[in-house]
Amino acid sequence: MDNLNISKEDLKLFLEELDEQIEVMEEGFLTLEREGADPEVVSATFRAAHTVKGSSAAIGHQRMTALTHAMENVMDKIRQGELGTSSEVMNPLLKGLDLLRPFKQTLATNSDTDVDISQALQELRDVAERKPQDSASGPKSSGPMDVSESFMQRIHYAQEEGLVALEINVTLAPESIMPSVRAYQVYQAVASIGEILASDPTLNEIEDENVGTELKFWIITASGREAIRSAVAEVTDVTGVSVSPVKVPKDKEEADRAKPGGAAPSDEDTKSGAAAAIENRTVRVDVTVLDSLMNLIGELVIDRTRLGQLSAELSELAGVEDLASEVGRISNHLARITGFLQEEILKARMLPIEKLFKKFPRMVRDLSMKFNKPINFEVNGKDTELDRAVIEMLSDPLMHLLRNAIDHGLESPDERRAAGKTEEGNLTLSAYHSYNQIVVEVSDDGRGIDPQRVIESAVRKGVITPDRAKEITDREAIMLIFSPGFSTAEKVSEVSGRGVGLDVVRKNIDALGGRVDVESDLGRGTTFRIFLPLTLATVRALMVRAGGQTFAIPLNSVVETLRVDKRLIKSMRRQQVVTVRDMVVPIYRLESSIGLTRRRRSWNDTTAGENDHIYAVIVNGDGKTFGLVVDSLVGEQEIVIKSLGRLIGDVRGLAGATILGDGSLALILDIRGLTGAGWSKDTVAEVAG
């Protein structure tokens, strides 16, 4: 182990910074590989490697220093235009990055590591020593847009001849139907005006249909800027054209800045300046701080209620009317403020889903290489905000769905070509708001799910009976893929297997109070949609009273509420049941279901006002339907969940507690927990479906 020279506090700072730099590099490397050597990205990643090198040297972490030094060298070569950004160049860089992570881990846990960096170092050195022409073989080498000497020379000569060098930036409409044709038309239009020195995408890339919405050209021409602008704007789907002179740089430093992409310095600078300003206005807060703030607000609510009562008492007294009304005003104001506070804290728990999404491009890229399936991976709605707890729990299901899409959904390039599709598979990950929900979507344009094959497989695995198979609709058939026992070892490959099937994805989403849906068009692709509640911190609940206590039953578990005539309660195998719409449903006293009371009361004991009826809330958890008998129904309410924590410890069947408006505590039921493993067969006997 490297002998480190760092205090605990400093280590925390170091690790935080390391985390950030690793993210910058990862995102940067992937962008460079995909989009070529954008000078800004190149410098950002170079800086990140440089920073880590410096700080790791400062704490005496020699292996990390050596590794980042080698990475920095490669980045420098890219910066100088001596290396391209093809996969062959980026692979060792990404590999180096992968080694930084275990270092981070061991530093954080203060454990020893035997991470061997020698091979990664060798690969980085090999790449750094490559000749530029070797590296130009990648699909997106930096070649054509590099500001080489000869390139600048030509601009120089052109200027002596009275011509001008211009940079043209063209934006295509994102909904453009055949962008590469449009790009070609733009290319033609530009070529008719002047000599194209370089373009991004290159002509080859256009012909390979490797075109985004931004096009860039460097040309030498005698035409005026306005003529160029109007000629290019003629092309359908062009939404923006800007023409600016190419500055001839005097030295290397300036050449870097003048490269396409950095050619409009004033604009870029203000933009990043504003971004930096926003960056500085945010601070990191530990989640536990937010949680404890939430709890403190709970206490405030209680005091507010006390104050309210006090002011009521005061107003009864003679001679202190002024005092009483003053206290009343304060109490009302306090109520409003605590309400706002609660809302703000809830907002503070929300995070943009980007936090989660940003780890997927790398994963998709690696899988794309592994399966030899070129993939156009698009990520939308990164700014969509979700409760941080939801974001954390969404990671595994999404990873699974993406892997699934790449492994099973997308076809091989050969198959795709045969099917008349682009060789590059399209995979989209999106997040958006819809009504009061967040929707996260994983969509591919692959082969789709064949309902017939799903049915066959489901029958074979005993998921459904052959009889059922005959009457099942296509849509129901496709939903079978979420059934437990459907995805079995047969489908487990190293990548999408891990012994985890879609049933687990569904379980995880269910646990979040969400649901997952799939839509598939055979031959055209599959879309998985995950619907999630906006936040886990609040939930809409049905408030009931039972055993002298108020309970909150989350509405997503409630099927219906019933007022049942006691004479209709039957007994089946010592289990009391009621019949609801031809279904026999077992019923339990709510307070005994969570073990609040061991005493078996007869239904006649109920404190409910009417003696010949009981109230039952029919609930559904994990597919089991049962009734909870309560003394009275209070109403529906939005509640804030507080963990029970040290109050009463973990109780099966209780999700937490909430403080009601009057300061009293209501216990929140966890219906899923009630049906879980802890319940013995005779507690919840599943009766007839």
Partner: protein, 118 residues
């Protein structure tokens, strides 16, 4: 008024196209495949050709090349289905001016025609 040659092997598509174009005040000449298109082009020298891609006897791309040989200034708009990007690109390289995607959106077709004609 400008004369437009509509080339498509589907009678239905030609009729629809004719209705649309006549409604816009153009003269319309029709051809059912690439070979017919070349003959019609020579006979009636239209101002613009609307060219389908997949056709019997002679496909649209070949017809574009042939027509361009007859008249290098010929103005041709390709009528393509979705997913024919590579083919359309080839046609544009061969000299087609623009493309519209089936099923036709009238305003897009008219916009493309006006742009190419002016």
């Amino acid at each position: 008024m400008a004369k437009i040659l509509v080339v498509d092997d589907s009678d239905f598509m030609r009729v629809r196209c004719r209705q649309l174009l006549v409604g816009e005040g153009y003269d319309v000449v029709e051809a059912g495949n690439g070979q017919e298109a070349i003959d019609r082009y020579k006979e009636s020298s239209p101002d613009l050709v609307m060219m389908d891609i997949t056709m019997p006897v002679m496909d649209g791309i070949t017809a574009v090349r042939e027509i361009k040989k007859v008249d290098p200034k010929a103005k041709i708009i390709m009528c393509s289905a979705l997913g024919q990007q590579a083919t359309v690109l080839e046609a544009v390289k061969a000299g087609a001016s623009d493309f519209v995607v089936k099923p036709f959106q009238a305003d897009r077709v008219v916009a493309a025609i006006q742009k190419v004609l002016c």
